[in-house]
C-alpha cells in the first residue's frame, strides 16, 4: 500500500515535472513563433514611439533632420555632443507650453483646454448616435421574416466602405452655402436656404448650459472641462446610478451654482492671497459657445460615416442570442421595449464594449472628417487635437531660442504623447467601467 502510494506520489511528482517541462517547451515554441512579428513590430512601432518620446523632451526641429548616426544623435542630446547634429534637451518645457498656455501665444487660435473639451464632447456625442442608430437598425433588420435583410445590410455598409477622404469632400460640397446640395434642397422646399454651414462664426445654441463665470485672467475652458469632469465622476458609484434622476438634478444644480456664482470670488481670493494682481473683469462661458454651426455639420457627416460599424458589430452579436430568451421574456409578459433592455442589451454588451472602445479611439482622432470638411472650423472653433498636431508639423514655424525659425517637431511629438495619454486614460476608465457594470448585471 505504502509503496504504491509512494510510487504514485513519485509518479505524480514526475508527471508534474513532465507537465512543467512540456509547458515550458510549448511556451518557448510559442515565443519563437511570435518572434518574427515581435521584431517587425519593435522596428516599425516601438522604436519610432521611443524616438518620438525622446523628441518630445528636446527642441528637435527640421534643423536636426540631417544626421550621420541616429543613435549617436539621440545620445548626443543627453551628453551635449554636437557632432551628430543633436538637439538640446528641454525637459518638460514642451509639455508645459502646450498645457499651460505658452503655445497659445505663438499658434493662432490655440487653446488647449478648449480643444480638449471640444474633442471629448465630440467623441461622446458621436458615439451616442453611432451606437443608438447602429444597434437600433441592427435590431430592426434582425426581425423574423424581414425579406430585404441582406440587401439593406449591404447597402448600409457602403458609408463605411467608402474612403473617408472621398466622403468628406462630398459632404463639404453638400454643405456649401450657395451651391451645396443641402441648401438647394431647402430652397426647393421653400425654406430658408442660405445657411452658411461651415462659415458661420456665431454658435447657434450659445445659451446651452452649463454656464460658468470665471475671472478674466484665467482660462475659462479649463474650468468648463473641470465642470464636465466633476459632473460625470459620481456616476461610477452604484449608489448614484440607482438614484440617477434625483441625483442628476441636484448635482447639476449644485455644480451650476458653484461654478456660476462662487468660483470667481474664490479664485480672486486665492489670487489675492498669493499676491497675483487681479483684474475686475469676468468672463461668462457656456458649453454652447464651443459648438459653431460647422460642428453640427461635421457631426452629421461623421454619424453617417460611423454607424455602419456599430451596426455590423451589433448584427453579429444579435445572431448569438437564442430565440428562446425572447420567447421566455414574452411569456413573462415583457413588452418589446423591456425585452430590448433586459434581454438584448446585456447579451450584446460583450461585443459592443470593444466596438465602442475602437469607435472612441477612431472618433477622437478623426482627422479626415474634421480637416477636410470644416478645416478646423471657422476661426479654429472645430479643431481637435490631431488637427492641431498636423498644423504644428506642416503649417507653422516657431522661433526656438538658439535654433531659429523652424518647424517645431519636438512640440508636435509632445502633442502626440498628450493625445496618447488622454486616450489611454479614457480607455482604461472605460475598461474599468464596463467590467463594473457587467458585475452589477450578474
Amino acid at each position: 500500500m505504502a509503496t504504491s502510494e509512494l510510487t504514485r506520489e513519485r509518479a505524480g511528482a514526475k508527471t508534474n515535472k513532465h507537465a512543467q517541462a512540456r509547458e515550458a517547451r510549448m511556451a518557448r515554441t510559442a515565443y519563437l513563433y511570435i518572434l518574427p512579428a515581435a521584431i517587425v513590430m519593435a522596428l516599425i512601432t516601438f522604436w519610432p514611439l521611443l524616438y518620438q518620446l525622446w523628441m518630445s523632451f528636446t527642441n528637435y526641429s527640421n534643423r536636426n533632420l540631417r544626421t550621420d548616426n541616429l543613435l549617436l544623435q539621440m545620445v548626443g542630446a543627453f551628453t551635449g555632443n554636437t557632432a551628430y547634429n543633436s538637439p538640446e534637451m528641454v525637459g518638460l518645457a514642451n509639455y508645459a507650453n502646450i498645457l499651460f498656455g505658452g503655445l497659445a501665444q505663438v499658434l493662432s487660435g490655440f487653446d488647449f483646454w478648449r480643444i480638449l473639451t471640444f474633442n471629448l464632447v465630440w467623441t461622446v456625442v458621436n458615439l451616442v448616435f453611432h451606437v443608438a442608430i447602429g444597434v437600433g437598425v441592427a435590431v430592426l433588420l434582425n426581425q423574423e421574416g424581414f425579406k430585404l435583410k441582406r440587401f439593406y445590410r449591404s447597402l448600409y455598409i457602403i458609408p463605411w466602405a467608402m474612403p473617408a477622404l472621398v466622403s468628406a469632400m462630398i459632404w463639404r460640397n453638400m454643405f456649401d452655402d450657395q451651391s451645396g446640395a443641402i441648401n438647394q434642397l431647402f430652397r426647393a422646399l421653400s425654406l430658408q436656404g442660405d445657411t452658411r454651414w461651415l462659415l458661420q462664426v456665431e454658435p447657434p445654441l450659445a445659451w446651452l448650459p452649463p454656464v460658468i463665470q470665471v475671472p478674466a485672467w484665467t482660462d475659462p475652458f479649463f474650468f468648463l472641462f473641470l465642470f464636465l469632469l466633476l459632473f460625470i465622476a459620481p456616476y461610477f458609484l452604484r449608489w448614484v446610478r440607482e438614484r440617477w434622476l434625483v441625483f442628476t438634478i441636484l448635482w447639476a444644480l449644485a455644480l451650476e451654482i458653484f461654478f456660476f456664482f462662487l468660483l470667481t470670488p474664490l479664485l480672486n481670493l486665492f489670487a489675492g492671497l498669493t499676491g497675483n494682481p487681479t483684474a475686475g473683469a469676468t468672463l461668462t462661458v457656456s458649453l454652447g459657445s464651443l459648438f459653431p454651426l460647422s460642428f453640427f455639420a461635421v457631426l452629421l457627416a461623421n454619424i453617417w460615416l460611423g454607424w455602419p460599424f456599430m451596426m455590423a458589430v451589433a448584427t453579429g452579436a444579435l445572431q448569438s442570442i437564442p430565440k428562446e430568451m425572447y420567447e421566455a421574456a414574452e411569456i413573462d409578459g415583457a413588452t418589446g421595449w423591456q425585452a430590448f433592455w433586459n434581454v438584448t442589451v446585456p447579451l450584446i454588451r460583450p461585443a459592443m464594449i470593444p466596438a465602442i472602445i475602437i469607435g472612441m479611439t477612431m472618433t477622437f482622432n478623426q482627422f479626415s472628417v474634421i480637416y477636410f470638411i470644416s478645416g478646423g472650423g471657422p476661426l479654429h472653433q472645430t479643431e481637435i487635437l490631431v488637427t492641431q498636431a498636423y498644423r504644428l508639423v506642416n503649417e507653422v514655424t516657431i522661433n526656438i531660442p538658439g535654433v531659429g525659425n523652424v518647424r517645431p517637431y519636438g512640440y508636435a511629438a509632445a502633442f502626440a504623447y498628450i493625445v496618447f495619454a488622454v486616450l489611454a486614460t479614457i480607455t482604461l476608465i472605460t475598461n474599468r467601467v464596463s467590467r463594473a457594470t457587467e458585475s452589477a448585471a450578474d
Binding site: L65, P378, L379, V396, T397, N405
Partner: protein, 428 residues
C-alpha cells in the same frame, strides 16, 4: 484530398511568382522608361526585355552620368518636363535623366526624409516657399559659385533674386508666377482700370475673389501694406494699407454677384461654369480654364489700380524652382548643373511656355496673350519672403481676413492681433 494538393501547389506557385516579380524589378523605378535610353546607356545593347531581369542598368562607362529628378507635377506639365529631359539626353549622349513623379503633397516629406540620410535625388522641383526650410536643414546646395554654369545669368534678375536667402542663391527659377485677373472674353468687353470699376463691373458679370492670405497679398500690397520690415518684424498693423485692403475685401464680399471665398476650387468651378466672368487666379490654371471655356475665350487683364490712394495690384512673385540636393556629387552633380543650364535656354523655356509657364529667360519668344498678360503682372509684384519667419504668417494672416469678413473684429484690431501673434511666434 487531391484538390487540396492542387490547391497547395497552386498557392506555392503563386507565392513563388510574386517573390520573383518583387526581386526582379529594379529598385529605382522611373515613371518614364525612356526607350531612347537603350543605345546610349547600355553599351551591351541588350534590347528592352519584358521580364527586366537581366536588363538592370549596369554602371555605364565613365563619361556617362545618371541624373535623378523628383517632381510633383502631373498632366501636361509633367509631359513638358519629360520632353525637356528627352531633349537633354539626346543632346548629351551618355547622360540619363531619371524622372520620378511623386504626389505633390508628399514630395517635400519624401525628399526631406531621404535627403537627410544622404540619399535622394540630384534635382528637386518645388515652389519657393520651401527654400527657408530646406536651406536650414542643409538639404539643398547654394548655387552662387555655379551661377554661370547653371545658366543663372541668362535669367530675369528679379526671378533669380527671388530665390535669395541669407545672401545666397538657393534655387534655379525655371518660371515665375503671380496671380492676376482672369476674365471671360464673351462676358467682359470693357476691362476695369481700378478697384472701384472692378466691383461695379462685378455686379453685372460676376467676380471671384480668393480671400486666402496668399491671394489677398496683391490687394494688401496694392494699398501699401507690407508684411515684414528689414528685421522681419511684422508691420502689417502699421500704416493703413492692410486696413484699406481688408475694408475693400469686406466691400467686395457684400457686392452682388461677387463670390469671396478662401476655397479656390469653388471659384474655379464658378468661372469654368460661366457663373462668374472674372476671377483672381494664377497661370497654373491656364490649361484648366482653356479646356473648359475654350482657347481665346479667356484672357488676363492688366493690373488694376487699388483706389483710393493705392498703387497697382501687386501679388506675391512666386517661382517654380529646381533645387540642387546637397547630396548630389561628382558626375551626377555636373550633369544636374548642365541640365539647369539647358533649362535656361530659350528653346527649352519654350517647351514650358506651352503649358502655361511664364519664362524666366527674358529672351524667350512669347506670343501667347494669356502669358503676356501674366508677364505684365509679374512686373508689378511683391517679394515673397524666403525667410523662415514667413512660416508663422500664414495662419494668423488667414485668421485676420476671416475675422474681418465675418464681422468678428475691426480691420485695425484684426491686423494688430495678427502682428502680435506673428511677432511672438518669431520672437521679434
Amino acid at each position: 484530398m487531391q484538390s487540396k494538393k492542387f490547391l497547395a501547389l497552386g498557392m506555392l506557385l503563386l507565392a513563388l511568382t510574386l517573390v520573383i516579380a518583387a526581386c526582379a524589378t529594379p529598385t529605382a523605378a522611373p515613371t518614364q522608361a525612356p526607350p531612347t535610353q537603350a543605345p546610349a546607356a547600355q553599351p551591351t545593347a541588350v534590347p528592352a526585355q519584358p521580364t527586366a531581369v537581366p536588363a538592370q542598368p549596369t554602371q555605364p562607362p565613365a563619361a556617362a552620368a545618371a541624373l535623378k529628378l523628383w517632381h510633383g507635377q502631373t498632366g501636361a506639365e509633367a509631359d513638358a518636363l519629360a520632353e525637356a529631359a528627352k531633349k537633354f539626353e539626346a543632346a548629351n549622349p551618355g547622360t540619363t535623366v531619371e524622372l520620378l513623379a511623386v504626389p505633390f503633397d508628399q514630395l517635400k516629406n519624401k525628399f526631406t526624409t531621404e535627403a537627410s540620410t544622404g540619399g535622394g535625388p540630384d534635382l528637386l522641383v518645388g515652389p519657393k516657399d520651401w527654400i527657408g526650410e530646406l536651406a536650414q536643414a542643409d538639404l539643398i546646395a547654394p548655387l552662387d559659385d555655379m551661377a554661370a554654369d547653371a545658366g543663372l545669368n541668362n535669367l530675369n534678375k528679379a526671378a533669380v533674386d527671388a530665390n535669395k536667402f541669407q545672401g545666397k542663391t538657393w534655387a534655379f527659377p525655371e518660371s515665375t508666377e503671380a496671380v492676376a485677373l482672369w476674365y471671360n472674353t464673351d462676358k467682359v468687353k470693357n476691362l476695369p482700370k481700378d478697384s472701384t470699376e472692378l466691383l461695379k463691373l462685378a455686379e453685372e458679370v460676376g467676380l471671384g475673389v480668393n480671400t486666402g492670405f496668399y491671394h489677398s497679398m496683391g490687394i494688401i500690397s496694392g494699398y501699401g501694406g507690407k508684411i515684414f520690415d528689414d528685421q522681419q518684424k511684422c508691420i502689417l498693423d502699421q500704416g493703413d494699407g492692410t486696413v484699406k485692403a481688408l475694408e475693400w475685401l469686406k466691400t467686395a464680399k457684400g457686392t452682388k454677384n461677387v463670390i469671396a471665398d478662401a476655397d479656390g476650387g469653388k471659384l474655379d468651378a464658378a468661372f469654368k461654369d460661366g457663373n462668374i466672368g472674372m476671377v483672381f487666379n494664377g497661370p497654373w490654371a491656364t490649361g484648366d480654364y482653356e479646356k473648359a471655356l475654350g482657347e481665346g475665350k479667356v484672357a488676363v487683364a492688366a493690373p488694376i489700380m487699388m483706389v483710393p490712394d493705392g498703387s497697382t495690384f501687386a501679388p506675391f512673385l512666386g517661382t517654380k524652382n529646381f533645387f540642387v540636393s546637397a547630396n548630389s556629387k561628382d558626375a551626377s552633380k555636373t550633369a544636374a548643373i548642365k541640365f539647369l543650364n539647358f533649362l535656361s535656354q530659350p528653346d527649352t523655356q519654350a517647351i514650358f511656355v506651352k503649358v502655361g509657364h511664364i519664362p524666366s529667360n527674358p529672351n524667350t519668344p512669347l506670343d501667347n496673350p494669356v502669358l503676356k498678360g501674366f508677364l505684365a503682372q509679374t512686373q508689378s509684384a511683391t517679394y515673397f519672403p524666403n525667410e523662415p519667419e514667413m512660416g508663422a504668417v500664414w495662419t494668423p494672416g488667414a485668421d485676420m481676413i476671416t475675422k474681418v469678413l465675418e464681422g468678428q473684429a475691426t480691420p485695425q484690431d484684426a491686423a494688430k492681433a495678427a502682428c502680435e501673434t506673428i511677432n511672438q511666434a518669431n520672437k521679434k
